[in-house]
Structures are given as structure tokens and as C-alpha cells.
């Protein structure tokens, strides 16, 4: 068992290495350079461009640039082009801002989609099922930013409370509980927007899982034993239907980076996604590369978590691997 975990661990480290290599190469081989940050910007003097080239070792061969990037990153010396701040602390701060969003939107996805999916499965073929199926597809199909603007439009026009950013500006000096509620409110619309897609897909998935399980033999057996319907559904069926979701939990982790670029930008939330977007706009290579790497790391962590959870939850897997 431990040998297998170690093996998986090393395999993933190797994977990470290759990912960082490819990411580095893609971004550097793409035409365009940071020195072209803004070729029409008269404030950008030739000396500044040289400074940037020097700082990012752009004149070195590609492999050396990669090594230097890795060296600076591991020492914590890597600095943003834009303002010279250390990349790691910048990313860490934005990560902390994104974390509550992620937690709340995950909570919303997981609590809302199950009842909907189960209900749809139990009333299969009924108008409710059809409507919820259509709504789910509609939510999948609507561009997230359109929905976000509709929400903003509705809140600002009808309720008139601030929705932008992480807090209501100008309330320093308010009691501590206000800051918490204020943060909670500002999280609500944006995490709702981030959860919409998840709710739609997960509820459809729950429904199909439930349907598969309900048709299984052991459920028929349970019914035949004369157990009452809710025991059958919630004790026997649901438990088995939920098993695959354990894996999905880990797979949501990378959503922290990639899933939020547009929504965070629209709501002016100072999170990782917006940091990444701003870095792209200003060709801030150290940040782009590092965020990209972070995305890959989170994906691998997510996969590992789901593997481990699955092994813990499903005795068959545990058995096979040992």
C-alpha cells in the first residue's frame, strides 16, 4: 500500500515536471515578448525594456531560462514585472481571497444539486423531471458572464446594495460583525454565479447515478423485503449512488485557478483568477507561468485526493490495490 502511494507520488512529481516544462515552452515559444508590453506606450523607454529583458533572462537559451525560473521560484526570489513584488506572496494573498469564494460555491453546488437530482430521478419522466432537465441545460448553455451581468443589473437596479469587490467601501470603523456579514454578502452573488454551472451538471449527474442504482438488483431485493420506500432510497440507493462523487470532490480543486477568471474580473474580486487575467494583460510572465503551474499542481493534488478518498470509501478498490 505505502509502496503504491509512494509510486503514485513520484509519478505525479514527474508529471508536474513535464507540465512545468511544457507550460514554460508554450508561453515562451508563442510570438510576442514582454518587451512588447505596450509598444505604443511612450512611457516605456528602451532602458526599461532592457531592464525587463535582463531581469527575466530573456536573452538566455530556453532551457536556461527554465532553470532560472525554477531557481528563482524555489528561492522565493521571483518577482513580478509589473510592480516588483515577490510573486509567491502576491499569489498567496490572492489565493486567500479566492478561497472563501471557492468554499462557498462548492458548498452551494453540493447542497443544491443533490436534492434536485434525486428528486428528478425519483419522478423520472414527469413534468418536473423534464423541466429541471431543461433548466439544467439552459444553465449550462448560458454564457456565465451574461448571467453575471444580469444578476448585477437586477441587484443594482432593484435592491441598490453594493455587489462589487470584497467589501462595501467606506465602512472602516464598523463593528466586527458587520465586516463578516459584509464579506458574506459580497461572496453571495459571485459564488452563486460560480456555482451555477456546477449545480446544473452535478444535478444531472446525480439523477443519472440514482437512476442506475435504482434499477439495480439489490434495490429490487430491498423493496421485495418490504422495507419502506424512504429507507430503500436514502439508505441503500443513495449511499451507492454517492460513491463516485467522492472522486469529484478532489477534481473540483483546480477550479480555484481556472474557473474564475471572467467572473472574478466582472465582480472586481481580487482573487487568483483576476490576478491571472491582469498578468496576461500586462504580459507579466513570472505571474502567468507560476499561476499556470499552480493550476497544474492543484489538479494533481485534486486527483490524488480523489484517489485516496476513493480507496478509503470503496472496499473493492482498496482490495485491488493491495
Amino acid at each position: 500500500m505505502i509502496r503504491r502511494i509512494l509510486y503514485l507520488f513520484w509519478q505525479r512529481i514527474a508529471l508536474l515536471f513535464v507540465i512545468s516544462l511544457i507550460g514554460h515552452a508554450v508561453i515562451h515559444l508563442a510570438p510576442g515578448e514582454p518587451s512588447e508590453v505596450d509598444p505604443f506606450n511612450p512611457m516605456m523607454k528602451a532602458a526599461d525594456i532592457e531592464k525587463i529583458r535582463g531581469a527575466f533572462h530573456l536573452d538566455e537559451p530556453l532551457w536556461k531560462q527554465y532553470i532560472l525560473w525554477m531557481r528563482d521560484l524555489s528561492r522565493g526570489d521571483l518577482r513580478s514585472f509589473k510592480d516588483g513584488q515577490p510573486v509567491l506572496s502576491k499569489i498567496w494573498q490572492r489565493f486567500l481571497n479566492s478561497l472563501p469564494l471557492f468554499i462557498v460555491s462548492t458548498l452551494l453546488v453540493w447542497t443544491i444539486s443533490f436534492p434536485i437530482g434525486i428528486h428528478a430521478a425519483l419522478s423520472r419522466g414527469s413534468p418536473v423531471d423534464r423541466i429541471s432537465n431543461l433548466i439544467a441545460w439552459a444553465l449550462i448553455s448560458i454564457p456565465g458572464f451574461v448571467l453575471a451581468y444580469l444578476l448585477i443589473l437586477g441587484i443594482v437596479e432593484n435592491i441598490g446594495v453594493p455587489v462589487i469587490g470584497m467589501r462595501t467601501f467606506g465602512n472602516d470603523g464598523a463593528p466586527w460583525w458587520f465586516s463578516i456579514i459584509d464579506l458574506m454578502w459580497h461572496i453571495t452573488p459571485i459564488s452563486l454565479m460560480m456555482a451555477v454551472l456546477g449545480i446544473a451538471t452535478l444535478s444531472r449527474y446525480t439523477r443519472s447515478q440514482m437512476l442506475d442504482v435504482i434499477e439495480a438488483d439489490y434495490i429490487r431485493t430491498a423493496r421485495a423485503k418490504g422495507l419502506d420506500e424512504s429507507t430503500v432510497i436514502y439508505r441503500h440507493a443513495l449511499r451507492n449512488a454517492l460513491l463516485p462523487f467522492i472522486t469529484m470532490f478532489g477534481l473540483m480543486v483546480p477550479g480555484l485557478v481556472g474557473g474564475s477568471v471572467i467572473i472574478e474580473s466582472i465582480f472586481a474580486w481580487p482573487g487568483l483568477g483576476r490576478l491571472a487575467y491582469e498578468a496576461i494583460l500586462s504580459r507579466d510572465y513570472p505571474i502567468i507561468l507560476t499561476v499556470n503551474l499552480l493550476g497544474a499542481v492543484l489538479t494533481l493534488i485534486g486527483i490524488s485526493i480523489s484517489d485516496i478518498l476513493y480507496a478509503v470509501a470503496d472496499p473493492r478498490i482498496r482490495h485491488r490495490s493491495s
Binding site: 510576442g32 443589473l153 439523477r207
Partner: protein, 340 residues
């Protein structure tokens, strides 16, 4: 293991770790589904509606392309500054020169901040939206079938210490690890944003699902009797692959492709919305949305029209995709079935 079965559910969260042994139930023995599929879709009102929308859309795209090129009244570039931000069905101002008047003397879908006719701009964007979907997904499917086919069918060949299958699937895993939208955004921001670049980049970053799917299908097909029989008859490996095996993966691939097109359209609109889309003055739905964002409180219809169009098209593709999926899997848990 049946959890990865439905392709429609394969959208944002499921990263199919076990795709290899996952899709047994996908293909039944009936190898020529043709008529069954059509009739199956016909019985599914949502999919049928989606299909009708798509057919109309293709018509609109063709007509729009011709009209915006040849009819001056529908020239999407005509600027009429005396008529800016007009609501739909607004009558054109008398100050507009005769040759600049929009179709029927009305702004059927309103006018934008430069007085350009939204109808004309939407028409100009329609073929682009479809083109982006089809080309990007075409690229993705092509790569996916190539890599998935190689891994699934020639997977046990060895290159040095590892098998071809391991090599290709590890590569697929690596590609899956990148935060896709962020990667697309980065590359598009670095290369010059042209419509072809966008298609290529979307295609290059979204083939992984297809590759896994095709590999999984081929792994099961390889063990089937008719393949064994073909081997016994001495038919060449390539011939078996192309003539006998790949056609059998067509169904699932088609389903994936349909739904992937909607994804590609959404991705393009998001890119355009962030300002990395097709260069002005050319209009795509995403860029019309991006332009109208600033007027959302003053001229909301500017925002709703392209938003609604994208929504309708993506929904249509998705519903058709689901219809196809149900048609290929009669036992799947579509809404038509009954609990036994």
C-alpha cells in the same frame, strides 16, 4: 464501474480517470443505427427543437453572409451617429442619408453606440459563430481520434521501456492538468488574436476527452468477436481499424462533438468578451456583447440580443447532443424511459 458513461455529463467536473474500462454499455451490437437515431430524435421534443434551431441558424448564416456583403441596407459597418443607442424597432432619423438607411427604415434590433444596425452586426457574426464551433471541434476531434486510435489500437507497441498507450495517455493526462481557459487566454493574448488563431487554440486544447473516449471504445472493440474474426480472415490491421473499428466509435464521438461545439462557441464568446477576440470592425457575437457591456444600464437590449443568441445556439447544440446520446443509448436514463 458505470460512472463515466454519459458523455453529456462529461462537461466540467468529470475527469475520467477510468475511461479505459468505462464504456461497455455504450455500443450495442446494432452497428447501423441510422434510422433509429432519426426516429429517436423525432420522439424527443427538446432535441427536435434544437435541431430545428440549428437548421435555421445555418440558413440565417448563409443568408446573412450574402445580405451583409451585398445589401447596403444591412452593411454592418455603416455608422449613423445621429441614431445611437436606439431600441429595437426604432424608426430611423430623417437626418440619416438615404443610402445609409437600415432595412425597412427601422432598426429592427436597435442600434449600437455608433448607430450601427445590430441586426446587420448579428448577421455578420452568425457564420463566424458556427465556423468557430465547427473548425475548432473538427481540429479537436481529429487530434483526439488520432491519439485515441493510436493508443487504443496500437497501444501495446513498445517504445523503449514504456508502451505507446502509456506514453500517449500520460501526455493526455498532462494536457488535462492545465487550467484550460487560462491556457487559451494566455496563448491568445500572446499570439495575435485572429479568428483562425482562436479556432486553432481552442482545438488544440480540447481534444483530450475525445482521445480518451476513442481509446476506451477501441479497447473494448478489439476484444469483440467480429474483430477476432476479421483477424482470422487475414485482414490487415489498418483495414480493421479504419473499416471495422472506427465507424463503431462514430456515435459517441458525434455526441461529444456536438456538445463540444457549444463549448467552443462559449469559449470564443468569453474570449471576445475579454477583448481577445476577432479584431474590430468585424463583429462576432462575443464582441458585440463586449461593446455593449458599458451601456447595460442605458441600452440593455444591446446586451440581451447577442446574449440571447449565444444562449439559444449553445442550448440547441446541447439538446441535439443529448438527443443523439439518448438515441445511441436506448437504455440510457433519458427522460422518456419508464421505471420498470
Amino acid at each position: 464501474m458505470r460512472n463515466d458513461r454519459t458523455v453529456g455529463d462529461d462537461l466540467p467536473y468529470t475527469l475520467n480517470r477510468e475511461a479505459g474500462n468505462a464504456s461497455k454499455s455504450l455500443t450495442e451490437e446494432s452497428a447501423s443505427p441510422g434510422n433509429d437515431i432519426l426516429s429517436s430524435i423525432r420522439r424527443n421534443p427538446l432535441a427536435l427543437g434544437g435541431l430545428i434551431v440549428l437548421v435555421m441558424l445555418v440558413l440565417i448564416a448563409v443568408i446573412g453572409q450574402i445580405a451583409t456583403t451585398w445589401m447596403p441596407a444591412l452593411d454592418p459597418a455603416t455608422v449613423r451617429l445621429v441614431d445611437t443607442l436606439r431600441p429595437p424597432l426604432h424608426v430611423v432619423s430623417d437626418l440619416v442619408a438615404a443610402e445609409d438607411r437600415p432595412l425597412f427604415g427601422h432598426y429592427l434590433l436597435g442600434s449600437d453606440h455608433l448607430g450601427r444596425c445590430i441586426l446587420a452586426r448579428m448577421l455578420q457574426g452568425t457564420p463566424i459563430a458556427l465556423l468557430i464551433g465547427f473548425v475548432a471541434v473538427g481540429i479537436a476531434i481529429g487530434i483526439g481520434v488520432l491519439i485515441g486510435g493510436a493508443a487504443g489500437y496500437f497501444g501495446d507497441r513498445r517504445i523503449g521501456p514504456i508502451t505507446l498507450d502509456t506514453l500517449l495517455m500520460r501526455f493526455t493526462d498532462i494536457m488535462l492538468c492545465f487550467p484550460t481557459f487560462f491556457l487559451i487566454l494566455t496563448v491568445i493574448a500572446l499570439v495575435s488574436p485572429s479568428i483562425w488563431n482562436i479556432m486553432i487554440v481552442i482545438g488544440l486544447t480540447s481534444w483530450m476527452g475525445t482521445a480518451r473516449l476513442v481509446r476506451g471504445e477501441l479497447l473494448t472493440l478489439r476484444e469483440r468477436d467480429f474483430v477476432t474474426a476479421a483477424h482470422a480472415l487475414g485482414i490487415g490491421k489498418w483495414r480493421i481499424l479504419i473499416v471495422h473499428c472506427l465507424p463503431n466509435t462514430l456515435g459517441p464521438v458525434l455526441v461529444t462533438a456536438t456538445i463540444a461545439i457549444s463549448g467552443a462557441i462559449l469559449t470564443e464568446s468569453a474570449l471576445s468578451f475579454l477583448g481577445f477576440g476577432v479584431q474590430p470592425p468585424f463583429a462576432t457575437w462575443g464582441s458585440i456583447l463586449a461593446d455593449s457591456k458599458n451601456y447595460i444600464f442605458d441600452a440593455p437590449w444591446l446586451f440581451f440580443i447577442p446574449g440571447l443568441a449565444i444562449f439559444a445556439v449553445v442550448l440547441a447544440f446541447n439538446l441535439v447532443g443529448e438527443g443523439l446520446h439518448d438515441a445511441f443509448n436506448p437504455h440510457a436514463s433519458g427522460p422518456r424511459g419508464k421505471i420498470k
